[in-house]
């Protein structure tokens, strides 16, 4: 039986103006630990003797806020999840169909964040 990888590599994409908050770059590659703290603290390496969970989209959001976001965190994150008006696609599918923040990320998943906050 193959051993579980200790990290998952994800392709992240931003659209609808969100890229401005992330160094004006649409595509990013991030590597998350496969197991992360329950409380979504994003210090690397993961502290030992802490309750853990598999890395999920909620953790990814916290990770992006703490490590990639350059400014105005409140425009991306609110109450532990993405701000209302930001859509999330997991492998080209609405995250509402995949369990939203509870979706456990797998290696090579593609997560897209699109802001709809300036529509019309």
């Amino acid at each position: 039986m193959a051993s579980n990888p200790s990290a998952v590599t994800l392709k992240i994409e931003f659209g609808g103006g969100l890229e401005l908050l992330f160094s004006n770059q649409r595509s990013h590659k991030v590597s998350l630990p496969a197991t992360v703290p329950n409380d979504n603290t994003t210090a690397i390496p993961v502290p030992e003797n802490e309750p853990t969970k598999p890395a999920d989209v909620t953790y990814l959001i916290h990770y992006l806020r703490d490590h990639l976001l350059k400014e105005r965190a409140e425009l991306f994150v609110e109450n532990g999840t993405v701000r209302p008006g930001i859509l999330v696609l997991i492998n080209d599918t609405d995250w509402e169909l995949e369990g939203e923040g509870d979706y456990v990320v797998k290696d090579c998943d593609e997560i897209v964040f699109i802001s709809t906050l300036h529509g019309g």
Binding site: G17, P84, L89, D92, L97, I114, H118, G119, G120
Partner: protein, 579 residues
């Protein structure tokens, strides 16, 4: 976590999360494929998503294309099957803001009604099947034979974009990005073209633009006129007319009393710029990219600012009319949420230019150097929470996330409401929308207008923070420091409630200055000042011999009860009864 005390439940049991979709993850339409998107609790796959959105789009736009022939047809604009050829009486103008709605709108219009061959953003194969299912008479099929626009609208279609970067310090000018997007829909092989008309917000104060759209001549005496907004009757005063359009725009927006007013004024200016541009091209249709979501935001914030009359009296059919022209302003995405627009744009690989959020404070002078950019940037940081529009948008976005069906209910409810009164002739001269009659009388009846009003004094309400003592009557009604007006005429009677409130609402923090402020006026307002009496237009009086203007003779003032009795005393019946 506290318990509800019900012994029948498990201790520490958490309420199960409400599911975002009904039943299963299979597409509700084809019932075969796995779903890719949830739209108001219904699951759709990618294949079914495209025809769903384009059908909803055509269902809204289609019935408005041909001229309304009868009341029965007009009443059924949203339903029924269209029969016969689609033939608009004029050309087409699409208002483009750079946002998701506009981007999706342009793509939908091109795919549904015009030939489109841009390989840079080719539709997915599933979307192409949608067109081939139509008959040969369908405009999209006909257009492929002609190589021209679909034959539905006359002349060349056009996209109009209004750049607002000049009032946003540090903002990027996106005109060329938008031009590139419009260009991508042109097809040299079939000679299909879309015109691109770039405008700037300051064009509203530019006589060159006004002339270019065929605007009527502005009387010489009217060219220097502005309104004094420190007086709620908005008397028309002269002002220095040597400022550039950009300086006039900054003066106009920076002098408005509240952040909400700034946002509202910008939206209004853009709307009228688009209307006159459409009129200059003899357009019969002006399409705007407001989605269901942004429509709901606009409705709630509009009603909060007193624009409910215009919204409701227009209803679904919004028409701008002059004696020679009639332009239908249609929002074909009104049944399509912002989420669907975003998915359409993403799955169609459309480039999204984006748009800036309108500011709620504007500097009094145009930015010329870096220092002013820093100061203004600091102002912009705190703007999110200060306007009705920003608060409404945050509220509706939250609602859409948690209760998506309620957002569509807002728009549908507005469609069911009507007004008791008819609009005044000509509508509001500033926003060009229907205006209810007797706005000022209504305001006088419902509000406390002065700190010396009996009702205010009796209420013992605390004074606003900028007053340490009740102002004396002299302070409140101090003589204006501006030059003597050349006429006693006022703009207020020609405004709708919302525009009047935009100019005269009082912030609870008070204004920075009590000096009179004379605002420049947009060109179309100045053009409405005529020299002839007997029209509904404002008449201006002048001592200028060369002006040859006539003076207005009517002046309103409130009379006391004893004066009223004196006037009509001889007609009153004796209370003592017959002898």
């Amino acid at each position: 976590m506290s318990s509800c005390g019900n012994p029948a439940t498990e201790q520490d049991a958490l309420m199960t999360r409400r599911q975002k979709f009904d039943k299963s993850k299979t597409c509700v339409k084809c019932k075969e494929h796995q779903g890719h998107i949830v739209i108001r609790h219904a699951v759709y796959c990618k294949t079914c998503f495209f025809p769903l959105v384009s059908t909803r789009f055509r269902k809204v736009l289609g019935p408005t294309i041909n001229p309304a022939r009868s009341a029965a047809k007009a009443a059924n604009v949203r339903g029924g099957r269209l029969r016969g050829r689609l033939e608009a009486p004029g050309s087409l103008l699409i208002g483009f803001s750079g946002g998701l709605g506009s981007t999706a709108l342009l793509d939908l219009v091109a795919k549904s009604y015009f030939y489109r061959s841009s390989s840079a953003s080719a539709p997915p194969p599933e979307a192409a099947e949608d067109n081939s299912s139509k008959g040969s008479e369908h405009p999209s099929n006909k257009s492929r034979e002609d190589g021209e626009s679909g034959g539905v609208w006359k002349g060349k279609p056009a996209v109009c974009y209004v750049e607002v970067a000049s009032i946003l310090p540090g903002a990027r000018d996106r005109t060329e990005d938008v031009r590139a997007i419009v260009q991508s829909y042109c097809d040299p092989a079939s000679k299909f073209e879309i015109d691109f008309i770039p405008l700037r917000l300051e064009d509203a104060f530019d006589k060159t633009w006004w002339k270019s759209v065929g605007g009527s001549d502005i009387d010489r005496a009217a060219k220097d006129l502005g309104i004094n907004i420190s007086n709620e009757n908005l008397p028309i005063n002269t002002r220095d007319s040597s400022s550039t359009p950009l300086e006039s725009l900054h003066t106009y927006l920076s002098s408005l009393p509240t952040p909400t007013a700034v946002h509202s004024a910008i939206s209004s200016l853009i709307r009228v710029l688009l209307i006159y541009t459409a009129a200059s091209r003899e357009a019969s249709h002006l399409l705007l990219g407001s989605t269901l979501t942004s429509l709901s935001v606009n409705m709630i914030s509009g009603i909060a600012q007193g624009a409910g009359f215009a919204m409701v009296s227009e209803g679904v059919e919004e028409v701008w009319k002059t004696k020679d022209q009639s332009i239908r302003i249609v929002r074909p995405l009104r049944d399509i949420g912002i989420k669907e627009s975003a998915f359409w744009s993403y799955w169609s690989n459309l480039r999204i230019v984006g748009r800036e959020r309108y500011p709620t404070t504007v500097s009094p002078v145009p930015n010329t150097g870096d220092e002013s950019v820093k100061v203004a940037s600091a102002m912009i940081k705190n703007q999110r929470l200060t306007s009705i529009d920003a608060l409404t948008q945050d509220f509706i976005m939250g609602l859409e996330k948690d209760y998506p069906s309620t957002v569509s209910t807002i728009a549908r409810t507005i469609a069911k409401v009507t007004t008791k009164e008819k609009s005044v002739e000509g509508g509001c001269v500033v926003c060009q929308r229907p205006a209810q009659p007797n706005v000022q009388q209504w305001k006088a009846r419902i509000s406390i207008r002065s700190y010396h009003d009996e009702a205010f004094v009796k209420s013992k309400h605390p004074l606003p923070p900028h007053f340490t003592a009740p102002p004396t009557l002299d302070e409140v009604e101090a003589p204006s420091t501006s030059p003597l007006p050349i006429s006693t005429h006022e703009l207020a009677p020609r405004l709708c409630y919302a525009c009047h409130t935009t100019f005269t609402s009082r912030s609870s923090r008070g204004s920075a200055t009590t000096d009179s402020v004379v605002l420049p006026l947009p060109e179309w307002v100045k053009a409405s000042f005529h020299t002839n009496t007997g029209t509904s237009a404002t008449v201006i009086g002048s001592d200028d011999e060369a002006g040859e203007l006539q003076e207005e003779h009517w002046r309103k003032r409130q009379v006391t009860q004893s004066e009223m009795k004196e006037q009509i005393g001889e007609f009153l019946l004796d209370d003592t009864g017959p002898e």
